[in-house]
């Protein structure tokens, strides 16, 4: 098989996939009477047109990256964490609590303390399903999803009760349950004037490097991956599979918690109801999409950030409801996942190669 053919094969599969996704999406857009071409242009290119919009994409990519990194640790260790949404909410509560309790502490003390508190709250929320699975074989699919609900109620309770902004209760306020504006001492700097892009982006990249080192360069990471890849072989090799499962879930939860901490310290500067906004679930897709590897997760997070911002814009510019864009996102995800499977199938490639040879070389030459 020539190299030229291999590249040609892969490129044509990708082009076919893109065309298939566009076509499916076009059918759906056409049925609701939208301007198909314009919608596509807006989703994919509008968010990249100005630097302000690019920074908005990056802002969405930050929590997605951090959450996806955590999820990849759990996934690689053989446990599926669907509870990032709840872990993130707990992280926000932990961070807010510290900021509200110690508003006068200097920034170099308060900020790390608040992020750490968020991480610990998230880690605790991840630890629960981990230990339940390790000790009682409770399915993590059940426990993480249920803990999401519990976390959501906790979150609502605190924001409508103990943490509610005093301004909201007396003056009516914005009508959205939220905490008061947090002290400036936990704000992350916005380093590009006129945009909201904050230093959390460097923290996300730093965490990506940490995860890469942890999983591929340390013995702990190797044991976690062994436990995930083949629990039986890991047990045989003297690795305590259940122990690493709990650790992995705690790390995963800590990352979701940190994503929450960074999100409020960088963007909102207060805890608001509904702030997690599905990041915990999109994070799963980003993690899988990025091949459960930090080097893949960062671009995947950027792509999903793009889709989130794009969905917003189509609603405003083309009048296509944002929910419709979610449908398109779903289609794109399905097509990309299927394409990855097709590209990974060497048998199909071999078959196409033989067809290709028959087409390019006349049969006589083949026999000779």
């Amino acid at each position: 098989m020539t190299k030229k053919f291999k590249i040609l094969y892969k490129v044509s599969i990708i082009i076919l996939a893109i065309m298939a996704a566009m076509l499916l999406g076009a059918i759906i857009l056409w049925t609701i009477g939208a301007d198909v071409a314009k919608t596509y242009m807006v989703i994919l290119f509008e968010p990249l047109k100005t630097s302000l919009q690019i920074t908005e994409v990056l802002i969405r990519a930050i929590p997605l990256t951090i959450i996806a990194l955590g999820i990849s640790v759990a996934y690689r260790s053989g446990i599926i964490n669907i509870g990032a949404e709840g872990q993130m909410a707990m992280g926000i509560l932990g961070t807010t609590a510290i900021a509200l309790l110690f508003p006068t502490l200097p920034k170099p003390v308060l900020l790390p303390m608040a992020v750490l508190s968020g991480a610990l709250c998230g880690a605790f929320w991840g630890f629960i399903p981990g230990i339940l699975k390790a000790k009682l074989q409770v399915s993590e699919l059940l426990s993480t999803v249920m803990l999401n609900y519990i976390a959501a109620q906790f979150y609502t309770f605190f924001l409508r009760g103990p943490m509610l902004d005093p301004a909201e209760s007396t003056l009516g306020g914005s009508g959205t349950p939220q905490s008061m504006r947090l002290t400036k001492n936990i704000w992350l700097d916005r380093f590009i004037p006129g945009t909201r892009l904050h230093t959390g982006i460097f923290f996300a990249i730093f965490l990506a490097i940490i995860i890469y080192l942890l999983l591929w360069k340390t013995s702990t990471g190797m044991k976690m991956r062994a436990a995930g890849a083949s629990a039986r072989a890991a047990r045989y090799g003297g690795i305590s599979v259940t122990w690493y499962l709990v650790i992995a879930m705690a790390i995963s939860g800590a990352f979701a918690g940190m994503a929450g901490a960074i999100e409020i310290a960088g963007v909102h500067r207060r805890a608001i109801e509904g702030i997690t906004g599905g990041y915990g679930f999109s994070g799963i897709v980003v993690a899988l999409f990025g091949g459960l590897h930090p080097a893949g997760i960062i671009p995947a997070a950027f792509f999903f950030g793009l889709l989130i911002v794009g969905a917003d814009m189509t609603q405003r510019l083309v009048g296509v409801p944002a929910n419709m864009v979610n449908v398109l996102q779903g289609i794109i995800i399905l097509v990309i996942v299927s394409t990855k499977m097709v590209l990974a199938d060497p048998y199909l490639m071999e078959k196409v190669w033989r067809r290709y040879q028959k087409l390019t070389n006349p049969p006589k030459e083949v026999e000779a």
């Binding site: 044991k223 072989a233 048998y347």
Partner: protein, 512 residues
Amino acid sequence: MEVTTKKITSLRVEHITKRFPGVLASDDISLSIGEGEILALVGENGAGKTTLMNILMGLYQPDEGRILINGEEVRFRSPNDAFAAGLGMVHQQYMLVPNMTVLENIALGYKQAWSPFKLDLGKVRERIEEISKKYGLFVDPDAFIWQLSVGEQQRVELVKTLCLGAKFLILDEPTSALTPQETDELIVLLKRMTSELSIIFISHKLQEVKDLSNTITILRHGSVVFQGNTTDHSPSDIAALMTGHEVELPHNDEPPCEGAIALNIKNLHVKSDRGFLALNNLNLSIRSGEIVGLAGVSGNGQRELAEAINGLRKVEGGEILFYGEDLANKSPHHVIEAGMGYIPEERNTEGIVPSFSIKENLILKDASHPEFSKHTFLRNKEIETNATDLRVKFDIRSPNIAVAAGSLSGGNIQKVILAREISRKPKFLIAVYPIRGLDLGAAEFIHRQLLEKRKEGIGILLVSEELDEILDLSDRIAVIFKGQIQKILDRKDATRRSLGILMAGVKDDQEI
């Protein structure tokens, strides 16, 4: 689809070629089997036997060539087509659903018991009993597959194939899990069955090939290197043709050793997955520098014994004294650190992490060892040096040390496991079915390594069903039956016959 009731009087395979990415698995292979004939298909691992059979069974489509039954060309698009034509295969890797019972597994293929709204399990049960009785192959219809040993699973496969009404049998190493007596019985049975059907028989055991087959076809690297009548050739001729060179398995000729007792198992009680006592008051002691062969039909407690010693299974009662320390109910990590080496039964799923590279698998037990990690960071250079050295020393055939261990052949996977276990310098080694399914070249290599370790004073517990292997290597032979040691013999006192009788559960030779 109705299963044909017509007899298969001839099966011909013409110019079959099958390519896999980067591999020519079958290269222009032709075969022919007449009515009532038994053809032995022989070759080393990776020679293309299983691929060829999978083509015959419709699991793969050939790239070129054709298959003729009774002179008519047939095309199998799926295994269903092959079943319908009357071909039945017992695979090397069993095609059974682990979390279903024997009865349910057989019912899956037994279409006569199906009606649109009801599955008549009673009918399936009758059929199983009929077949079991007819051929003397007894299975427990209500046992779950995952609870059965490999040998028992193979029996289920045979019964299943016969139940489904096969007119032509393809057997992929059918005797690998049977006692010599059972093997003899199977050979008699298969010969008798030739009055009704023809058989293709894949085997590594040349003596059986000799006893059973009419014609023989030898494959090497995907193509036929020899075809002829079995009677005209001796087993050693066949072995030489198969490997391309002369092979002789090594023997243990040394006098029995007088080392200190390394492993002393006292009154051991261990439960099986099904909850009954798989080991019931088992006693066994092994000296350092001695190989004790544990002979027995699989499913008599061998797996449970190996797992209990290695901390992978709970001990209900008794002691496992390892140089004086009781290992019962210690963690696998503790047992490994105590100096225990273990070559497990399931080499593909337990002995290695299939998706990990060779170099990672070689340090699976030592990732935290200071030799390979410093402040928890892996020392890549040392890991690579270790792997490069071991790859050469243990003749692991792979493109490099970074390929996934799961992509290697069985023999090479076993060499990776052996390399890791031996290079860790264990005080004791437990080897479970170390050469099952391996070709002669790999088997020879592994046996030599085991004998060398014995010389260095390491005690070895060798669990095997193959009497040749046990008789070749052991100083003493313990026969296990239903979770107890039936008898312990010195090598000089053991014969194939005496062992076979003990393995079948008869204690006193005189009773036969």
